[in-house]
């Protein structure tokens, strides 16, 4: 009986987690590793959060709760005492039926069994171990793997990842991650990338301690935020970031973390300080500078070490980061101060083009910043200001307002000067980096009842200085509107419209250069329907239009059909996609979320004309061992090769297989 319930729970849990992930996946940058998020939600499924004993930091890890809701939650508990029933959540300001539904599987009111005694025996018996091994390979031969004279991939075409995680309640954790990308050689040690950590928490005054790889996220991301953060999306409350402070790092991204030691210590009732130190070796392409020493202009963040050039750049630049954050929390007010210094072994120089004129030069950079958030009745104010010493001052301020039980609004103004230098800057931005931008963003979420949901936002931005392919100060705007209709649990319709207008150097051959308007419009219509307890279907139609200046617009569209088979007590579950896409060029390409094996997710890029199909299967070997397999195929029409440079494949098919094994013990 217990076995049946566990299986049912696992299936349901995966569906819940997957639904949440799909809705936030689009706002994430390309190389974001979703592992963290999936990890967190899966753990809360097994160890639900006790709402009567939780902290703001814990609630922030739920990606679908906004800072205003978190603040209202604690105000409610302070005024009304502990919750008597989980459904009492619905009576809290700002908690609509949808959020409560999404939260229910992960929360409880029962006090968790706290492991008080840490002994080796206890840690072995009560600890949870999770081992995942994943193998990926593109079946066709890419150009880089053939016998080429010059630049080529020196390694083998498989990608292999191994992750081991250990948890002891909520008190201790450790992990080790090994990764070898496709094309990388087994040089010396068998894996190109090794990452790991040991973390302890709730040790009296030491709230958290991490030795090894960790990430730091403070305030609104303007001063110190290692890793990635969400971009603009239909959930307008995501403009106010939820900083999680110090966290152990266990993703496979080879750039976005710090390596060393850090701890969050509770100094007095309302003040926490987090000192940190990190020493890393990074990849950079270096040249001989004017004085004969090695210099670089950018850091290589891909983590690829496949070609002779990439291998030469490996670990060529060392980076030392040290500093501290202090944060004051009292009731509805949070104020934080962060300051740190980054030192490199070699100098940075600017690149030749004029647009790079104001970027960082030298070896040493000191950053400091102040951030705050304050809840006043139904308004959540937030903001941050960051200064790079001897360079620019950037700031961001905004508010989330719960206008009524059905409507929330967000507004934020940002101003980042062209000379704001910071290597850990992930603030809210339209461009890829939070520098050289000013903008005003306003957004509205309307949820009149549990069947309908509307989102709108408008963002107006300016770039005061030049950018790549933009030889003058420029400006633009972006608008999005989305409506979702969910008449019952088995049916959902989504319609979305997005329009973006930016400026870029004209392509015309003229004696005087000017900026053309580049307009991108996107339409999406999606229908999800659940046939019965076993089968779910999703149909999607997406169209994109690209127009630069007065040239004829490029049009692209994607039509896809997804089928999902997840019966309750079955050992096998799977999903399948069949899609047809037709885009008249690379500019009208379409990105769409694709299902993948657990802990992985893909963002398919549909460019050109052709078909796409993939099949995911999961087989539950026995209770603790699961195996996944994925096969994906692109068939392009009327092409003789796919891709470019070393990734080029002869022919018109590109297929990939992926196999993953997970053992929990």
């Amino acid at each position: 009986m217990m076995g049946f319930i566990t299986k049912a729970q696992i299936a349901e849990q995966e569906v819940n987690v997957r639904d949440i992930l799909e809705s936030v996946a689009e706002n994430l940058p390309d190389d974001y590793d979703m592992t963290e998020l999936i990890e967190v939600l899966n753990r809360y499924w097994k160890h639900p959060v006790n709402l009567n004993k939780t902290t703001p930091d814990e609630l922030k890890t739920f990606i679908f709760i906004s800072p205003l809701q978190i603040s209202n939650f604690f105000t409610y508990i302070k005024e009304n005492g502990n919750l008597v029933d989980v459904l009492e959540l619905q009576s809290i300001d700002g908690f609509n039926a949808q959020v409560v539904q999404s939260l229910l599987p992960f929360v409880t009111l029962n006090p968790a069994t706290e492991y008080q005694k840490i002994t080796f025996k206890n840690m072995r018996i009560h600890g949870e171990n999770d081992l995942v091994m994943r193998f990926t390979q593109t079946l066709q031969t890419q150009k880089g793997f053939t016998d080429l004279a010059g630049n080529r991939y020196l390694g083998s075409p498989e990608r292999f990842q191994l992750r081991y995680r250990y948890h002891y309640g909520t008190i201790a954790s450790a992990a080790i991650t090994l990764d070898k990308d496709a094309g990388e050689k087994f040089i010396g040690k068998p894996f190109d990338f090794i990452s790991g950590h040991i973390a302890l928490s709730k040790l009296n005054r030491i709230r958290k301690l991490v030795i090894g790889d960790y990430s730091l996220q403070f305030g609104q991301g303007l001063t110190m935020w290692s890793g990635f953060s969400f971009g603009k999306g239909p959930d307008v409350t995501s403009v106010a970031k939820k900083d999680l402070g110090l966290r152990p790092y266990s993703s496979a991204n080879e750039y976005a973390f710090l390596r060393g030691v850090s701890a969050t210590v509770n100094l007095s009732k309302n003040i926490d300080i987090t000192p940190f130190v990190s020493y890393r070796n990074l990849d950079a392409s270096q040249d001989r500078g004017l004085d004969g020493t090695l210099v670089q202009s950018t850091i290589n963040q891909t983590g690829y070490h496949r070609t002779p050039a990439e291998i030469e750049n490996r670990n060529s630049l060392s980076q030392l980061v040290y500093g501290a954050n202090a944060q004051y929390n009292k009731n509805e007010l949070v104020i934080g101060l962060t300051t740190y210094n980054t030192k490199y072994s070699n100098n940075f120089v600017t690149q030749k083009p004029v647009y790079d004129r104001f970027s960082f030069t030298g070896r040493s950079l000191t950053n400091a910043g102040v951030y705050y958030n304050y809840t006043y009745k139904n308004i959540y104010f937030f903001g941050e200001a960051g200064k790079s010493l001897n360079a620019g001052l950037a700031y961001l301020n905004g508010a989330l307002i719960s206008l009524s039980s059905m409507v929330s609004a967000a507004i934020t103004y940002r101003s980042y000067p062209k000379n704001y230098h910071n290597f850990f800057n992930q603030a809210f931005v339209e461009a890829t980096e939070a520098i050289n931008e000013k903008g005003l963003y306003t957004g509205l979420n309307i949820i009149p009842d549990k069947h309908w949901s509307f989102s709108f936002y408008g963002d107006y931005f300016q770039f005061p200085w030049l950018k790549f392919r933009v030889d003058a100060p420029s400006k633009g705007y972006e608008v999005l509107s989305q409506a979702v209709y969910t008449p019952n649990k088995t049916f959902k319709v989504l319609a979305r419209f997005k329009m973006e207008n930016k400026q870029q150097n004209t392509d015309l051959e003229l004696p005087i250069n000017f900026l053309d308007d580049v307009k991108k419009t996107g339409y999406r219509l999606e229908v999800n329907w659940q046939l019965n307890k076993k089968w779910t279907f999703q149909n999607r139609l997406e169209a994109a239009q690209y127009q630069k200046g007065d040239i004829n617009p490029e049009l692209g569209y994607l039509l896809s059909q997804d089928v999902d088979y997840s019966p309750m007590f079955s050992k096998i579950t799977g999903n399948l996609r069949l899609a047809y896409f037709n885009t008249s060029g690379y500019n009208s390409r379409i990105y769409a979320y694709e299902d993948d094996v657990l802990y992985s997710f893909a963002f398919g890029m549909y460019s050109g004309k052709g078909f796409r199909t993939y099949l995911n299967l999961k087989y539950n070997l026995f209770k603790k061992l699961n195996i996944w397999a994925r096969y994906g195929l692109f068939i392009y029409k009327d092409v003789e090769s796919i891709g470019s440079y070393l990734d080029e494949i002869q022919g018109n098919k590109k297929s990939e297989i992926k196999v993953q094994l997970r053992y929990q013990f």
Partner: protein, 266 residues
């Protein structure tokens, strides 16, 4: 300088659209005039002048975008009686050397509790120094329907008969537009409104705005329109029976256009 202003105004048809002054409240909500009840709806959807218990009068002033001298002065007044409303409006746009004047008379009638129709007759005058003046007539018709307590849908057509100025030398047309909008009263403090407008010879524009009464005395408003992309903001003070509203439009190329109005509800 004055000639430059005159030429700029008279040769740029786009400004003809911006000249219709909807008052700071509707402007701050994104120039949303189709489904929101307001004294200034006389300049947009004439049927939205119903639902007043007592007469209201309001005067407004806008300082326009590119010059200190170009401004709009306007006046609107509504007198309700039984199920009907009668309104009058006056609007002057330009500078002493170039003026577009408009006098309007509107009549709206409520049928039952939910439906109202309105009709607006406008007398336009275009006066350019040393060139003379020309006049024209136009008509606006509109309807407003309230349903489900919270919602109202409104539609109106401005100058459906494509009237022009009487003099053949005047090339600028009186604007023709088709508009439909919805307003949603999310609570007794919050109104969200959207309008879709199609002006002849112009693409379809969509606008969205909110009016949030944060306290009895003060309302905050904001809005967006898409083609062209503009952001709007404003606030209103309601003290005893006096109404003071301020708003501004922000256009990427043209800058700010602040406006203010003072009104009294009897």
């Amino acid at each position: 300088m004055k000639i430059w202003n005159v030429l700029l105004i008279s040769l740029s048809p786009v400004y003809l659209f911006a000249q219709n002054n909807l008052g700071p409240r509707l402007t701050a909500m994104g120039n949303n005039g189709a489904a929101v009840t307001d004294v200034w709806a006389i300049q947009s959807n004439p049927s939205a002048i119903c639902d007043f218990d007592a007469p209201v009068v309001s005067i407004s002033y806008i300082k326009h975008l590119f010059s200190d001298e170009v401004s709009t002065q306007a006046l609107a007044a509504i007198v309700p009686f039984k199920n009907n409303s009668v309104g009058a409006g006056f609007q002057r746009y330009g500078l002493p050397e170039y003026q577009e004047n408009k006098i309007s008379f509107a009549y709206a009638k409520k049928f039952g509790k939910k439906l109202s129709f309105g009709l607006n007759v406008n007398y336009h005058q275009l006066k350019i120094e040393n060139y003379g003046s020309s006049t024209g007539f136009s008509v606006d018709v509109g309807a407003l329907y309230q349903f489900l307590n919270h919602f109202a849908v409104g539609a109106f057509v401005s100058n459906p008969f494509k009237q022009k100025f009487s003099s053949v030398e005047v090339l600028t047309d009186l604007p023709v537009s088709y508009n439909i909008g919805v307003s949603f009263s999310a609570s007794d403090k919050l109104i969200i409104a959207t309008t879709v407008s199609k002006f002849i010879n112009h693409v379809i524009d969509v606008s969205l705005g909110i009016d949030y009464k944060i306290i009895d005395l003060l309302s905050l408003r904001g809005g967006l329109s898409v083609k062209p992309f503009k952001q709007y903001a404003g606030f209103g003070l309601n003290y005893r029976k006096f109404l003071l509203d301020m708003a501004t439009t922000y256009d990427a190329n043209l800058g700010y256009a602040p406006q203010v109005s003072i009104g009294y509800a009897f």
